[in-house]
């Protein structure tokens, strides 16, 4: 199939925007996350934890100065597009995103992290079968949001199909996820919690919750966050007051016989950026 010129232009613009969004996300932390880390460092009472948080803040400053990624696990890109009504939902959208990821892998540079799940053969350019994941929702403008996701924290994520009678057990499930994870996901973490929907939706909601700003929490989110911080796991699992910077929750309605709950673990490097596509 021949791509029409408008499609090719759109694809190129989307590639540029994806590459720029990745560079922004990988090198600079969003201001709300940085502010949460600074607040935690100021409030922390444990000496080792204070040193860990101070290393993290120094690292963020150095990444900015040197224009290098914050962490060597540059993650796998998770992509969210908003699509205005006048742009067709076409394969060129996906090709544009993939091209942007390939370019960013060379220009930033990113570590090639995408492999065949069984042979473990590396594709070399951070794209692959079904990767990157691209989620499209309707919107007023064409925007690309990137959430590069590292494996240390992703591997500590968890999904539970709770019973409808177990809503009061959700804080326990969330705290237990952190207890099982310990220092492995690079705390202080941000927890994205998806409640409701179906098995797959709960996980998607949990990941989307990581896109929410961490400077505010509602009472329920604060309750979950307090339960996690009471564990005292601390930065890097070395102990301290600061285990979670924030917990963010997204909900959907669900089957009367179900209560899916997903916890998507995010290390302190909660990297995300949005760029509007020029066209």
């Amino acid at each position: 199939m021949m791509a029409n010129p408008a499609d090719t232009m759109l694809s190129g613009a989307l590639a540029d925007a994806t590459e720029r969004a990745l560079a922004e996300a990988e090198i600079r932390l969003p201001s709300d996350v940085l502010e949460a880390l600074r607040r935690a460092a100021a409030a922390e009472r444990d000496a080792i934890a204070r040193q860990e948080l101070s290393n993290i803040l120094e690292n963020i400053a150095l990444a900015g100065e040197r224009q290098v990624p914050i962490c060597q696990d540059t993650g796998v890109p998770v992509i969210y597009l908003t699509l205005p009504p006048d742009i067709p939902f076409s394969p060129s959208l996906f090709e544009g995103v993939r091209e942007g990821v390939r370019r960013a892998t060379v220009t930033i540079p990113l570590r090639p992290n995408v492999v065949d799940p069984l042979t473990r053969e590396n594709t070399g350019d951070n794209t692959g079968a079904g990767m990157p994941a691209v989620h499209v929702t309707p919107g007023d403008r064409l925007t690309v949001t990137v959430l590069p996701k590292g494996a240390g924290s992703e591997n500590a994520s968890r999904l539970g199909m709770l019973l409808p009678s177990q809503a009061a057990e959700i804080p326990k499930f969330v705290a237990e996820t952190m207890l099982l994870a310990g220092g492995r996901p690079c705390p202080p973490v941000i927890l994205g919690v998806g409640i409701g929907g179906t098995f797959d939706m709960a996980a998607a909601l949990a990941k989307e919750a990581l896109l929410l700003p961490v400077d505010t929490m509602d009472d329920y989110e604060q309750e979950l966050c307090d339960a996690v911080n009471a564990l005292g796991i601390g930065p890097m699992g070395l102990g301290g007051d600061t285990t979670a910077l924030a917990v963010k929750v997204k909900r959907a309605d669900c089957h009367t016989a179900s209560l899916p709950v997903a916890v998507n673990m995010q290390c302190w490097a909660c990297r995300r950026a949005t760029v509007e596509v020029k066209r």
Binding site: P69, C71, R184
Partner: protein, 190 residues
Amino acid sequence: MNLTTPLGDEVLDLRAGDRVTLSGTIYTARDEAHLRMIAEGIPFDPKGAVVYHCGPVVQDGRLVVAGPTTSARMNALTGFLIDAGVRALIGKGGMGPEVVEQLRGRAVYLALTGGCAALAAARMHLAGVYFEDLGMAEAVWVIEADSLPLTVGIDAHGGDLFEAVRQKAKTQFHQRFNINRIPSHETRHR
């Protein structure tokens, strides 16, 4: 305390929770490099050596970023290194009880702040590579380090800061969630 490679018995004086800096030669190794070394031998002199759990980003012979990876993935792959004379492991998140035993009387585990890849790279430069065919993340990179800021996570006497924190967290968890939730006498009669 300031450590310089090759390391010797000075590591036996360290205790879990101590803060140290380390300078000298270190060797990166992740899962694939451990498997290759078990099959083909260790390509560097392991006596007093330091192994760094890290898969860096390298471009044009330059270390771009090089923070620690999750050490626990190497729990079952570590014994041969300690037997060969490796004196310190650097990584994040700590290691399993079998490694705590392997380190006893011989070596230590040093924690470097996870995600601090720019901070680490600012204090390192590349000096060589083995097993480059394993790819950027899995190759054994030879690195000259200058004053890496580290915390002793596991000492050579069975002291394990990660395990101590984990036990405390477990106790907290059980106190918070597993207590009998029947309201107390006063509450019921208020």
